[in-house]
Symmetry: C2
Subunit: 528 residues, 2 copies
């Protein structure tokens, strides 16, 4: 960090909140997803004094934190959030959990009572640091208005590490309103360390000598160039290319090297892993089951296989893959597994999972950002969309449902020239349904499909998976959300987003076409 | 606690989840507000094996925890919640915060991965105990299926203390599915300790000798009999009767002793407290400001006054007031300050805050439960409703908005024969808007009024209060929620709750009448 002594911004008139806003902007954090309260009013007021911060209001904090996650996934740089004391932070925690598991960097600014007020245990007093800790890598309460800029720079530095981190800076009200005179520039993150030569040689050796071997690609490795390098290595060695079932962002589509995902269902995953053979871990770790089930393993590696780590998440992934390709003398080979352009025929008739997949495959526009929270409906969307024009596919890394719409908000703010397509289960969509209002307010270019099957369908399968063979009516009732049915068109229009309900494939095609040709948000209720 | 050795329920066929459900029911915890996931499937399955547990599904965890709060406020006994790992708990934390500040007892059951699965850091793995701690009094992870019943009994014992406590029991999946053979009966809470004679005598002495004195009544003292005793003491000594601005539940209306509330605005509060003189604290503490503001005090007591504690929240409040009345020889006096029956005339014309207050005062039915989250709109509702038939008035003790609709759900489950009236600001109503669906599903007798002023209006005042005199357009934009306007009728109908929008007082009267005559939920969007 370094103090900025520019006299134009460092005057007696500046308060702590303004020094923080200027520090954030100086550190490249120029978007703030907000849901403020009284303790944040000086921060809000500072926004009119300081140009350059885009503020996006959410009507619930889960929208705010999830949007910051989506923003990072697309741009690889953190946004800030503005949250109101411990309960406001608490409402944002689930999507911070998801962001943390996706290695997204976020700078949370959480207002706190004035330092001298905390002892009185006013209604909103609670342990903010304790609330932040489970979902944050870095937590600090800034003690004075003179320290807030430096602490803001530290928060930026934490969030901009590789992988990204959740940094939570707590801003007492008197820290915000007291005098400040500094703007502090965050130090840029250091260059990424390289994977060791030994790791590269070990990976090469495994690929050369294994009967069957697979590159297991983690989040940071799922970019076009890294996948291309993986394809060259596959062309040379015949290895497979795999990734986990859910990823922060996968670059895919026609012309890109395809990567198979490990299935969610344990039996299917074990089968895939048995065929995978020995594993070269590329910014990944040995895969684990989403949940434990009686008499099923937690670790999904085949007992006869071994693993070697080529490169860690905090290292330079692309350089490691290049080094491996050099070591294997395949840098100039054509990559194997490149997806050929392919558009499936448009479906007709009943709306099935296959029909929805075909609509996506046939119509996905180039550059689309698909935010996938389709849960059970979407498990077969991948193969038929592999040949669509290049696009990004985003999944939930943390497993807490309600991530999809907020991440779509953040992705749309990050990439205003790209079409965002949010695929939602009806159950998951309700958790952070307030996101629709922010989409309307900011006229975000998001088309939402809600798969309205009227159930927490995944849980019906999970009842069986955990050993409940014949669930009774009360258990089934707890998994059913069709009494009453949700009217997604009404909900969406109630928040200002135009919407339509479709009941056959032709209507779905027409509605998706309307969404793709809209400049703003559009919701399609897909009756299942 | 004591083991139940009834052979009918203690068989080899019982698993940990079933032993927990049976333990909860045996301990009087026979309502469960749920939002389950995979790790809770055995608990869900057990509901079909064990009769007697009413399960109420919410589509978001804040609905679930707030409903448990409302249930306790009405019945003084805990409900349970069923939540899905750390993120599910996190989504419920804000309303657990509100419940904690309201001294409500709640038994949270939080599913966790199987104990042996946690080490693999699966997507949903996070620190549940750490997440629970800031908003819980009692937290425990039960290690085995044989211990879960005993731990469940401990959780019930914690929640049923006076005042109520938030107990969070973490249930690993293998603890749920492993074998169990016990149901454990929770020990009933001990009799409440009495206030000391010295405390009673000191209070009497203060009331006899002070020029001006006031009984400051805390949450547990706001029941009919305690207020009647306070009225007798006032009749004898001329003291005032005050309470905090927000209370867990206040019994009021015609025939009950009136109690003035300390205003939210600091200047007004200081004025009231100056007039209050010396304070007798009745299950209360010296009042504090909701927020700190530059150059305003945090503690709202008059510097010339002194305080004495008659009775603490954990003691027998009614007995202490009786002892004080005996000491002052006024037990047989008619209480002062009894509200006389009064119905204001029905308003006509424009919808103003006064018109809404008049509608409430004129039409509140006997036994109504008013859940007040009207924020700025409702500050003047109190005087004109004081003479309505006896009813209960519920406020947010914790200050985290989004408490109102969930608490209304819980109150309606607790008191199916009473009309619940939820008064909501449009900003606050959005946080846990999913509550409407649960109202429809359970056909709860709740009439919701949403005051649609299109703004976080309270924050406009707070900008000024914290010293921001001329907020700029970007600050004002962060407090405005009218771009786009929320269509509450659409939102409500989208979740299965019939609704109407009213734009003048006559329409409001007709709509409120329709709500009062409905057996199920009904929403009125009040255009402001």
């Amino acid at each position: 960090m370094s103090d900025n002594t520019n006299p134009e911004v460092n005057g007696a008139d500046m308060n702590g909140a303004e020094s923080l806003v200027r520090t954030l902007i100086a550190g490249g954090v120029d978007v703030c997803f907000t849901n403020p309260g009284t303790s944040e009013m000086h921060f809000v007021a500072a926004l009119d004094k300081v140009p350059g911060m885009r503020c996006v209001l959410g009507l619930f904090e889960g929208v705010v934190t999830g949007a910051a996650d989506g923003y990072y996934r697309m741009l690889g740089k953190p946004a800030s959030t503005l949250l109101h004391l411990a309960p406001g932070l608490a409402n944002g925690l689930a999507n911070l959990h998801n962001a943390k598991k996706a290695d997204s960097g976020v700078v949370n600014i959480v207002g706190e009572h004035a330092t001298y007020h905390i002892q009185y245990d006013a209604p909103l007093t609670a342990d903010i640091e304790g609330t932040a800790a489970p979902m944050s890598h870095w937590v600090k309460t800034s003690p004075t208005s003179q320290t807030i800029a430096a602490d803001g720079a530290l928060a930026i530095e934490a969030a901009t590490q590789t992988p990204g981190q959740i940094a939570t800076l707590i801003l007492p009200a008197d820290t915000a309103w007291g005098p400040a005179d500094a703007v502090v520039e965050a130090t840029a993150p250091p260059a990424l360390p390289k994977a060791s030569d030994a790791a590269v040689k070990a990976a090469a050796e495994m690929l050369r000598t294994s009967e069957t071997a697979t590159l297991l690609m983690g989040g940071g490795a799922l970019r076009h160039r890294s996948l291309e390098l993986a394809g060259k290595i596959a062309a040379k060695t015949g290895c497979g290319i795999l990734t986990e079932g859910a990823n922060a962002r996968l670059e895919r589509g026609a012309g890109r090297v395809q990567v198979e995902r490990i299935p969610y269902v344990v039996e299917l995953a074990l089968d895939v892993m048995k065929k995978a053979g020995n594993l070269v871990l590329v910014a990944s770790r040995e895969p684990v089951a989403f949940f434990a089930y009686p008499d099923k393993p937690s670790l999904l590696v085949d007992p006869d296989s071994t693993s070697t780590q080529l490169v860690k998440t905090e290292e330079d992934i692309e350089a490691a893959l290049e080094a491996l390709a050099v070591e294997l003398d395949c840098l100039d080979l054509e990559p194997a597994g490149v997806a050929q352009p392919y558009r499936p025929p448009l479906p007709t008739g009943e709306i099935t999972k296959e029909a929805i997949a075909a609509v996506l495959g046939a119509m996905l526009p180039e550059g689309a950002i698909v935010v996938d929270e389709s849960v059970t409906t979407g498990r077969e969307f991948f193969p038929v969309t592999a040949g669509a024009p290049p696009h990004d596919w985003i999944n939930n890394r943390g497993g807490s449902i309600g991530y999809g719409l907020p991440v779509a908000v953040g992705a749309a703010i990050a990439c205003p020239d790209r079409k965002v397509i949010a695929l939602e289960g009806d159950g998951s969509c309700m958790y952070t349904v307030q996101s629709l209002w922010t989409m309307a307010r900011e006229n975000l270019d998001v088309t939402v499909m809600v798969f309205a099957n009227g159930t927490y369908n995944i849980l019906r399968g999970e009842l069986t998976n955990v050993g409940v063979q014949n669930p009774g009516p009360r258990a089934v009732d707890m998994l059913s959300i069709d009494r009453p049915n949700l009217d997604w068109v009404a909900l969406s229009k109630g928040m200002g987003v135009d919407a339509v309900r479709v009941t056959d494939a032709e209507e779905l095609v027409n509605a998706f076409d309307a969404g793709l040709h809209s400049d703003g948000p559009y919701l399609i209720e897909v009756a299942m």
